[in-house]
């Protein structure tokens, strides 16, 4: 059983959010809607790009389903589903 990606995603979110907004990032709950945290489309794109650099994959590009996660829990689950691609 591999470790959850959640801490890594949480850390990357905090880093990008703080760099984009120049203040402290909000605490993420499982049902937090990511785009309601003050991260705009561009910030979200940077967040996904940073995760790709760190994790080695990008589920938005890999996914053939038409799916856009809304909450933090859905976002983490989306990444967990595609983690086998991180080789």
């Amino acid at each position: 059983m591999t470790e959850s990606l959640e801490p890594e995603i949480r850390r990357a979110f905090k880093e990008v959010w703080q760099s984009e907004n120049e203040s402290d990032a909000p605490e993420l709950q499982p049902d937090t809607v990511l785009l309601d945290t003050g991260l705009d489309s561009l910030g979200f794109a940077i967040f996904v790009s940073q995760l790709e650099d760190e994790l080695g994959f990008d589920p938005f590009t890999l996914s053939t389903d038409a799916y856009y996660p809304q909450t933090f829990a859905e976002f983490v689950a989306f990444y967990e589903k595609f983690r086998s691609h991180a080789a």
């Binding site: 809607v33 489309s41 561009l42 794109a45 940077i46 790009s49 938005f60 038409a66 809304q70």
Partner: protein
């Protein structure tokens, strides 16, 4: 003489609501009784830079047919650019609701009682792109409204307006709504997406046109589950299959259309089969509509009706002997379909905003401590592309963390948000090409 906006709205009942915004509504009766202010001569060209859609609609109806020209300029343009554009286009009057334009008059000062409308007003649009002074593209109301369906439909369509109306995409949405007897509902653009979507839901929005970047964002906002759309339109960026599929699944009863439009050509075409790219059969049809040709994997468009676009003030437009215009958009042909690859110039489309990497390089190159810089694009599933800046410090012993902060601060102060690099990478060398230029590949 062509039919002006006033005439086109005259058949609609007085009480019909043209615009719903958080700060109020605008009815047909309110726009039909006015013309330009008495001191605006009929041979004047008027620069209009208004953010409020109700005010902008009133001014456009008041001016069209009664003055020589209307130049629409985005309210995001800095004052010096507005003044320069007024000069280039020979505009003697500036009408604006912004407070940073010294020579502008406000909307109240621009509107007077109705008066004869005996002119065909020239409409001048600006091209998008963050290069400094935008290019000016002359139009008429007819050429702008060409792809607008004007038959009145019931129930009245309620078009969500999430674009700036002074830009080409926004004006297309506005004209589509106004000329087909619809209602525009206009959320405040600087609010959270959730709040904007709530306003659209409350206003009964049935038709919505947005960039793929904004659609992805809407799909990630739970409030969008409450939207019941009949028309979903994508434009301004390449629509990929993922976003088309997601929209088809979320709005199963909506017509799904992605449009390709060129400000230069003043036209575009629509694809309605829910698939990315467009069928090659579109390029074969030679009806009275838009002419589409693919040459060397680049898209060329011919506006219908012999309309020959040009840029004002001698700016170049590439147009062939048959009236086809080079759009600069590259295509990949696979089977019976063409897919958009991006621009043949270095322009990068970041979330619907066209960014020139050279300009970003110039800004970063001016920061103290920067030796060399190359700005490249990275694909993004969210905004289409992102910018990455590779920087060679001027000397080895510089603190790169501090240099990075200086670069980011300079970019944030001088560039649009989309033009600010998503990431800064420090490196020892940059590749140069045969011409000795820094290679962007």
């Amino acid at each position: 003489m062509s039919t002006n906006l006033h005439q086109r709205l005259s058949g609609i009942p007085d009480e019909h609501v043209l615009v719903i915004a958080p700060n109020g509504r605008l009815s047909v009766a309110e726009v039909l009784q006015s013309g330009p202010a008495a001191d605006i001569p009929s041979d004047a060209r008027v620069l209009v830079s208004i953010d409020d859609v109700r005010e902008l609609t009133r001014v456009l109806v008041a001016l069209d047919g009664a003055v020589a020209g209307i130049l629409l300029v985005s309210t995001a343009q800095p004052p010096e650019v507005v003044e320069e554009l007024a000069k280039v286009a020979d505009c003697t009057i500036i009408v604006s609701d912004r407070d940073d334009l010294a020579s502008a008059r406000n909307v109240v000062q621009a509107i007077g009682p109705t008066r004869p409308r005996d002119r065909t007003t020239g409409w001048i649009m600006t091209t998008s792109g963050t290069t400094g002074i935008p290019k000016l593209v002359p139009h008429t109301l007819d050429s702008l409204a060409r792809s607008v369906r004007t038959e009145k439909v019931q129930p009245v369509p309620v078009w969500g307006m999430v674009y700036e109306m002074t830009r080409f995409a926004g004006l297309q949405v506005a004209l589509q709504s106004l000329l087909s007897g619809g209602t525009l509902c206009v959320p405040e653009r600087d609010r959270d997406v959730s709040e904007q979507v709530r306003f659209l839901v409350e206003s009964g929005c049935t038709h919505l046109s947005a960039t793929p970047t904004l659609w992805r964002r809407l799909l990630m906002a739970p409030e969008s589950n409450k939207l019941t759309l009949k028309q979903v339109t994508l434009g301004g960026e390449i629509a990929d299959q993922a976003v088309l599929n997601a929209l088809a699944a979320r709005f199963p009863h909506a017509r799904l259309t992605h449009i390709y439009a060129s400000t230069e050509a003043g036209v575009g075409f629509a694809v309605k089969d829910g698939k990315a790219g467009f069928p090659l059969s579109l390029a074969e049809e030679q009806s009275e509509g838009v002419g589409i040709r693919i040459r060397d994997n680049t898209l060329w468009l011919r506006p219908p009706g012999g309309y020959r676009p040009r840029y004002l003030s001698g700016q170049d437009i590439e147009i062939d002997a048959n009236g086809y215009i080079n759009t600069g958009d590259r295509l990949e042909i696979a089977g019976d379909r063409a897919h958009f690859l991006g621009r043949d110039s270095s322009v990068v489309n970041v979330g619907g905003v066209k960014v020139y990497p050279e300009r970003v390089e110039r800004v970063i190159g001016d920061v103290e401590g920067v030796g060399l810089v190359a700005v490249t694009a990275k694909k993004s599933p969210i905004t289409g592309a992102l910018l990455i800046a590779s920087v060679v410090p001027a000397s080895q012993d510089l603190d790169t963390a501090e240099l990075k902060q200086r670069i980011m601060a300079r970019c944030r102060n001088t560039l649009e948000r989309e033009a600010t690099p998503a990431r800064i990478v420090f490196t020892q060398t940059l590749q140069t090409n045969a011409a000795g230029k820094i290679s962007r590949n």
